[in-house]
Amino acid sequence: MSEGLSIGFLELTGCSTCLENVLLHEKLSGILGGLGSVKYWPSHGYTEEPDSLDVLFVSGAVRSRGQVEKLKKLRDKTRVLVAYGTCSIYGGLIGLTALIDASSRSGEFLETVKTVPDIVEPDILVTGCPPTRDQLDELAGVIKDYLENGKPRGKVFIGNRNSLCRDCPRKPRDPYRFEMPSIKRDHELVEDDGRCFLEQGILCLGPVTSSGCGHLCILRGRPCMGCNGPARGVVDQGLNYISSIGSILLKSMERIRMFDYFAAEMDKLVDPMGYLYRYTLPKSLLTELALKKRGVGEK
């Protein structure tokens, strides 16, 4: 089936080395026909744009008018378009550049950071920074199906969309009766006692993040930063998170001196943008609101 396939890699604004993992994943690479099928990958020496592509992997966020044009043009030539990595779907770390208006520096930049689905319709979406081996396993199956059975049947999201907390190895014994005793900053976690990070006062984005990554960070003593994108039902990672911790922070104290303690604790969240929107800022309600205020995108 892989015979004669033509595949391409389009790197928008992002770091993009993770695209190499596509060819390093045995099953996926086998289905695609490996290196021999690569027809377009400018950063890796394949600069000539082909007339058509069977599969195009797109990583990165969209920041410039040139990228919008390129993406649309390649979409028209491609059978299966894969939005690859959190950056392509939610902005990822590059999404933080939505904090500045790059269009005021050069007319080439858009007024804000866009994502691949904002511009064209992808057939498959894979989150992760980078997508994991297991996610690529699943992706291989879906691509195989698409290539064998003709035209894609609409969008497919790769990976488990439940929240990380649901199957977390640190999940509190009784998730309805536990308390976050305070808010600590990330570097203040020096002696991890193995309990849920929230119980240790550490901001872990597990409650609002999808678990396709297989708890990579949590298994290595690190709280979740939200890199796999929002869990099912989460509209805005930051706002949903504040509402989740609102119900567990200082529960018992709350009855005594709620305002003094609660407000002081929330003040420790010195950088909500960095802590809560590190990977999804362009798709947040905050960005939507900010753009509305600037009159961007209004007819």
Partner: protein
């Protein structure tokens, strides 16, 4: 003539070649994308920078993370533990291998008519696997924290990593030998390495015994005439001057020649690679070049081969005997200050972070100097040597090869020249 995408860089830059009577009048590489990342990083909580700054460059994402963790440690006044130092070094060595193999095989060598992409992918398969076992993911590592490391692999995982490291070393040794002999017989390459290039300065981190220092050593500056100057990081920052043209930025050392960093710079600065296979490749390179300093950037290809073998030998060595992994993971003792600095000599070259924070440990100002900042100035001069040549395929290929040898990442080319060595 405008070339976009540019080999090795992609769509983020364009190569602009001016022409007069069929000959090259001017050659410029222009950045067309820029992250304005320093502006984004101002206002961030200090402790988050190690997870955000790798966005600069995933080819060097481990190096950016470590550089950032080290600068955060400097602000907090924390000293890293022994396991942390070992695991950082291990990650960076793996990244150096990847960087060199990727650049040679996918970026530079195809322009010279040499195709080793399949073998390169197999080598990357090993490095990426070891990195995944170490940090769960191949880019943007998560385990490095200020004062230490969040986790250590158990004996079973170490065994698995050591096995991959052994296979990596075998593969890379055979690959390197084949590649060197291939290059020796490559007419085009032999022609290129005989060309004259203007002397430049070279900068890198050198270890106690004259080996590549990576995260542990002194900054050494080799002047075109052969004089070596050791520099404190803050003195270096004071000497850097920033220039820009459109969206492109670069740094120079005040009153000096352009200064290169990265593999060619280290080839010139180090006294050798103290490991068996790499040291014989090093001797062979010097024999071909007729001694040091080597100013011809096409020797970067050979420097990358020697250094990737050296790194693979060290990776295997450090995973074969892991006594260094015992002891505390994190050292929490601290005495926070207001500024922090770090330097890492990554595969691509020198990465310097300098941060200024307020009383709440929020970043108020920062500068991040990247390898591209250094190498862009030297590249500008290399490209100017093409002026007057007949504008044909070979000239375009040469220009493209000079760019891939410099290994620029142009969206990195954005710096804030405010933060210097004070503090």
């Amino acid at each position: 003539m405008i070339i976009n995408p540019v080999p090795g860089i992609g769509e983020d830059a364009r190569l602009v070649i001016g022409e007069e009577d069929g000959r090259v009048k001017s050659v410029r590489l222009e950045a067309v994308n820029k992250l304005f990342i320093e502006e984004v990083l101002r206002g961030r909580a200090l402790e988050l920078l190690p997870s955000i700054t790798p966005v600069f460059c995933s080819s060097d994402s481990w190096s950016y993370t470590v550089a950032s963790v080290m600068a955060v440690e400097d602000v907090l006044g924390r000293k890293p533990t022994i396991p942390a130092l070992g695991l950082r070094r291990l990650g960076l060595l793996l990244e150096i291998i990847e960087n060199h193999v990727r650049n040679n095989a996918f970026k530079t060598l195809p322009l010279l008519g040499v195709d080793v992409r399949g073998e390169a992918l197999r080598i990357l398969g090993y490095t990426i696997r070891i990195k995944e076992l170490l940090s769960g993911r191949s880019i943007n590592p998560i385990i490095y924290v200020p004062g230490g490391v969040s986790w250590r692999p158990d004996d079973k995982l170490i065994g698995e990593m050591a096995d991959y490291a052994r296979r990596l070393l075998e593969k890379i040794t055979v690959h390197s030998k084949k590649l060197i002999s291939n290059l020796k017989n490559n007419e085009f390459y032999n022609k290129l390495i005989k060309q004259e290039f203007n002397p430049t300065s070279y900068i890198g981190v050198i270890g106690r015994n004259g080996e590549p220092g990576i995260i542990n050593g002194e900054i050494a500056l080799l002047k075109p005439g052969g004089e070596v100057v050791k520099l404190e990081l803050k003195d270096l920052l004071d000497k850097l001057s920033v220039s820009s043209e459109g969206l492109s930025y670069w740094v120079e050392l005040s009153g000096d020649e352009p200064v290169r960093s990265g593999p060619l710079a280290r080839l010139n600065i180090v006294h050798g690679y103290p490991s068996e296979n790499a040291s014989s490749i090093y001797e062979e390179i010097l024999l071909i070049a007729g001694g040091k300093p080597v100013h011809n950037p096409f020797y970067t290809v050979l420097a990358r081969i020697a250094e990737s073998v050296y790194a693979a030998e060290l990776v295997y060595e450090s995973l074969s005997d892991t006594d260094w992994l015992s002891g505390s993971l994190v050292n929490p003792k601290e005495s926070p200050g207001k500024t922090g600095y770090s330097v890492v000599d990554s595969g691509r070259g020198l990465i310097i972070h300098s941060y200024v924070v307020d009383g709440k440990l929020v970043v108020r100002d920062l500068s991040i100097y990247t390898p591209s900042h250094f190498n862009y100035a030297a590249l500008r001069r290399d490209l100017s040597l093409l002026t007057g040549r007949v504008l044909g395929d070979e000239t375009v290929r040469l220009a493209e090869a000079l760019i891939t040898l410099s290994d620029l990442c142009v969206s990195e080319l954005t710096i804030n020249p405010v933060v210097k060595g004070e503090g």
